[in-house]
Amino acid sequence: MSTDWDVAVVGAGVAGLSAARVAAGAGLRVVAYDRMAPGGQLVNLTSVHDHPAPGETADSAGLVSRLVAEAEAAGVVMAFDEVTRVRSGTPVRLEAGAGAVTAQVVVVATGLGPGRLGLPGEEELVGRGISTCAGCDGPLFRGRAVAVVGDDEWTAEEALELAEVASAVTVLVPGEPRWDADRARRLAAAERVEVLPGVRVTALRGEGVLAAVVVETAGGPRELAVEGLFTYVGRRGPAGLVEEVPADAAGRLPAEGLGAAAGTVLVAGDARSGAVQSVAAAIVDGTAAGEAAVAARRAAAGPAPGGSASAAGPWLRVVDPTYGVPADEADGAVPEGGGADWTEVALFSNSKPNATELLRGVGDRLQEHWGLAELGFASKPNASAAADKDVIDWLAQRYKVVLVAVGD
């Protein structure tokens, strides 16, 4: 992959993908980085509310698929890697896991980190009761009591989603709720939901897993026995990511980032100071950042001959002399079959809750269907880490068919 780009987008969420699509559509060479999956905040949402229009609902996975497809069709190259530092200069330098790259323009669209209360012991309980994704982890709390901390539309939607599985949902609002009347009505109508305004979480209880939270209410401290706590406050922006750019109190960065003199760094989406956290706003913000990136590149290319302004300046269309297609694609070759026999079938689990059970269940059906004596099994200990090379080597050499679990 190239290490020198016209535009590098950090964070392939709604804003980042929108910016990348616009810049690539204008003929710039664009890479979009994401440390895990494209989609940003949408990955944590089962459905998106008030999109495409107020009161409507969209399937978030479908929306992410469409944003990624549009960006890639425009020529955006997706890179799954974490950008750890953006250094000013011309070009701007980005430090990523796989090495440094340079770009003429950088769009920071990292969004915000997960909600955190800033309480002792909190980090240890993340994934052991504390979550920020009702769609992902809600089913783990079937028939159990949970609490939700937050005051916005998103908090309300997450609470409503949790109400479908949990035995009780207590919504802890630090001040007054900011959600709209419709959501207020739906929350009030939900049998298992209780909204407590003006409360502050002051402590977490639990050995290894969350057992209760302590809240400060107008009537004094109160302990709530909950096994799940979904936090939507205290989300921080990418403070410190960009050299020389100061963050606001919430760790978010100013829109203009760095001026052209120090290399162009733009900020879009939820990572931007004062951003409105909605899908529509992220699309508008990202599109504007993409257009600003194009304008910056045009300006940097200098005035057209004859001194005419460059903003509407000339364009030169050329055939990319570095272009090539990977060899396996060029000759259309299908990789040769693994050496093993068709009776050699294995399961490969990502160790997510129930992934192994699902694999076993589906594997049993295949075993029965093909009349196999036995199935092999392997797993990776951590769903977000890449699979161990030795395990892949072993599976590739030993088996003909490997059933793999992805996702949760």
Partner: protein, 342 residues
Amino acid sequence: MTEVIDLPGVTEENWHEVAWERGWGDGLPTVPPTPERVAAALAALDGIDLELGPVPPSGLVPTRESFAANAVMAGCRPADLPVVLAAVRALLAPEYNLHGVLATTHPCAPLVIVNGPVRTSLGVNSGTNCFGQGTRANAVIGRAVQLLTTHVGGARPGSMDRSTQGGPAKYTWCFGENEEESPFEPFSVRRGFAPGESTVTVAACEGPHNINDHGSTTGEGLLMTIAGTMAQTGSNNLYVKGPHFLVLGPEHAATLHRDGWTAEALRERLWEQARVPVAKVSEENQRQFEDWGVKPDGEFYPVSTGPDMLHILVAGGAGKHSAWIPSFGATAAVTRPVPVRP
């Protein structure tokens, strides 16, 4: 990644700056590979499949358009493309070892030798100053080959191209054999191609080392000078071995021929005569040769592995100069026919 790129704010006038900023080119100005120019160049390859494999180190296979874009950037005319294609096909033959060639610290360049009638139709210089500047075909064909491997292969100087000092031949290094003034059969014919068939031969070589002999009037005299030039201690051919070239000026060639020397006999004789005395190689370097599995033949180190590794041809104009061209070693001389449109 799209194949066609719109560059905002770019004109033919500021193209070079922009191209250079993107890491395109060799430092000299290039011709913008507009789709129109690329299409015009590709017309010369109508009905001809590229038949190109992956270019190391990127492993990408050039498309017709990106192949032609590099030729256009180098300044090629459409008619030059079949010769460039033959050269690139030869370069991608496994025995040429392009990956090793691109990544070595050695200053080798892709040497491109043209034989046959295409020399005349394209104006490839095989006479006076044929290794030097001043002939369009020589300049652009050699340059196109180099640009393609740099761009599609991604072997940019400093990153993948690790040459310690490089060499001026890496800009462009192409000439024709002076078949008209050669007393021998054309080089391509000796390599098994039909007379009248145009071919391109490539090998990874250093620039030419001059062999000046104004005094000798006999073949024996000339051979002493030639062997002396070839028997040098600092060439890869001494221990990495591989192909090397003796390019005789027409006057030296005529003298050798008059005294009864054939190309084959010259190979045999120089294998015996062009040798480096062991005492001229430092003891440390002798040990390093031994690590490579190379031991002296008695009191001498021969140049390469046998007479067949020396390729003899004729090029240049009037004058008493010839040239020896040592190679990278871990490469082969590869010849491919110039494709002809059906």
